[in-house]
């Protein structure tokens, strides 16, 4: 009996090791966010919703992905308020909306609901990876809107308020 149990444990351990070792890890390649800078030109607080001058596009590829593994793109602001502003301008006044998300090689992609920017990571798109040994391409397009107010002191021309964004791409 002891010998049978020992043999069973031995076989299970070997099987577990082989089953995990046999699948290569998903790797992310060529991540990019374009353009470098998106600008809100706020000219009339009585029309407070100001669109960014460009959509943002996040692209990357993966190798050794699996249709059963998840991927996601998250965004976070580097601080709670814009920098170089004459008075406080919270980053929460900016809303990010996923416009589209695509993935090849049998993967899936879905946009998350719009959300206000924050120093907390917000998921903007996610899905299941494309599979296969070759490159799988991913693309996520985001739009940004800023809510203007008479309560913000004007900025001198050429000296805007500014804030950084981090996009964190994860492939499991």
């Amino acid at each position: 009996m002891k010998e049978r149990l020992t043999g069973f444990i031995l076989l299970m351990a070997i099987w577990l090791g082989l089953s995990i070792e046999g699948r290569a890890a998903t790797r992310i390649h060529s991540p990019a966010a374009t353009p470098l800078t998106i600008t809100f030109s706020a000219n009339d607080p009585d029309n407070p919703t100001v669109a960014g001058n460009s959509a943002a596009t996040i692209t990357f590829t993966t190798t050794s992905g699996s249709n059963t593994n998840a991927w996601q793109v998250q965004v976070q602001a580097t601080s709670a308020n814009f920098a170089s502003c004459p008075n406080a301008l919270p980053v929460s006044k900016v809303t990010v909306t996923c416009v589209s998300a695509t993935v090849g090689n049998g993967g899936t992609a879905a946009c998350s609901a719009p959300s206000a920017l924050s120093t907390t990571l917000r998921t903007v798109a996610s899905g299941l990876e494309g599979s296969g040994g070759g490159n799988t391409s991913y693309s996520v397009t985001l739009s940004f809107t800023f809510t203007d107010s008479w309560g913000y002191i004007a900025t001198p021309s050429g000296a805007p308020c500014t804030i950084g964004l981090n996009y964190v791409i994860t492939a499991n």
Binding site: L10, A25, A33, F60, F82, I153, T155, L165, V168
Partner: protein
């Protein structure tokens, strides 16, 4: 005659189990998740600007004594934001059409004047100013770094207001009747 194949000895079995389990752990979930981070910048350019509004019309009324001036007050509503480096801004007023019909007072003769009071953001005009057809005259001076509403570095009032108090000379040479003139308020900000 029976024969049986014997299993490895106990210490050897334990070693095989340990090696297999260790190999399984090494090949486990470690390294199966990959992450990458890319960055972007958002800029917000907030233009200096202002909005002003006034009632469509006001009536100047006699104050009682014969040939005493006609008077009336008008509240100017405004919202404004100015930069930290500019010269601020202003609200000005100018007559855009003479009194009509003729035979009564005229803006050109300087009989229509105003004073300012009660500004909730900026400084109202000082003293008495005569309305002009040829140039805008000051109602309010707006400082740099101005903003409307919310308190703190901005005004608490939203909208902001300043009152213009008009006075029109009642000259006995004027023919009896009703007369009207047009005036325009303009706001600017830098």
């Amino acid at each position: 005659m029976k024969s049986s194949q014997s299993l490895p000895k106990p210490h050897l079995r334990a070693g095989l189990i340990a090696v297999a389990a260790f190999g399984g752990i090494l090949a486990g979930p470690l390294g199966h998740s990959d992450t990458a981070t890319v960055t972007q910048t958002l800029n917000a350019q907030l233009a200096a600007t202002g909005k002003v509004s006034v009632p469509v019309s006001i009536s100047l009324t006699a104050t009682g004594a014969a040939f005493s001036p006609y008077t009336g007050s008008l509240t100017v509503n405004y919202r404004v934001r100015s930069t930290t480096t500019g010269i601020g801004g202003s609200i000005t007023v100018q007559s855009t059409a003479e009194f009509a019909p003729s035979g009564g007072p005229t803006v050109a003769s300087g009989v229509l004047a105003y004073t300012c009071s009660g500004a909730t953001l900026g400084t109202g005009c000082s003293g008495t100013a005569a309305m002009s057809l040829v140039s805008a005259t000051n109602v309010l001076t707006i400082p740099a770094s101005a903003c409307t509403g919310g308190g703190g570095s901005c005004s608490s009032a939203n909208p902001n207001t300043v009152t213009t108090n008009f006075s029109l000379v009642d000259d006995p040479t004027y023919k009896t009747g009703s007369y009207s003139a047009s005036i325009t308020f303009t706001i600017s900000s830098t």
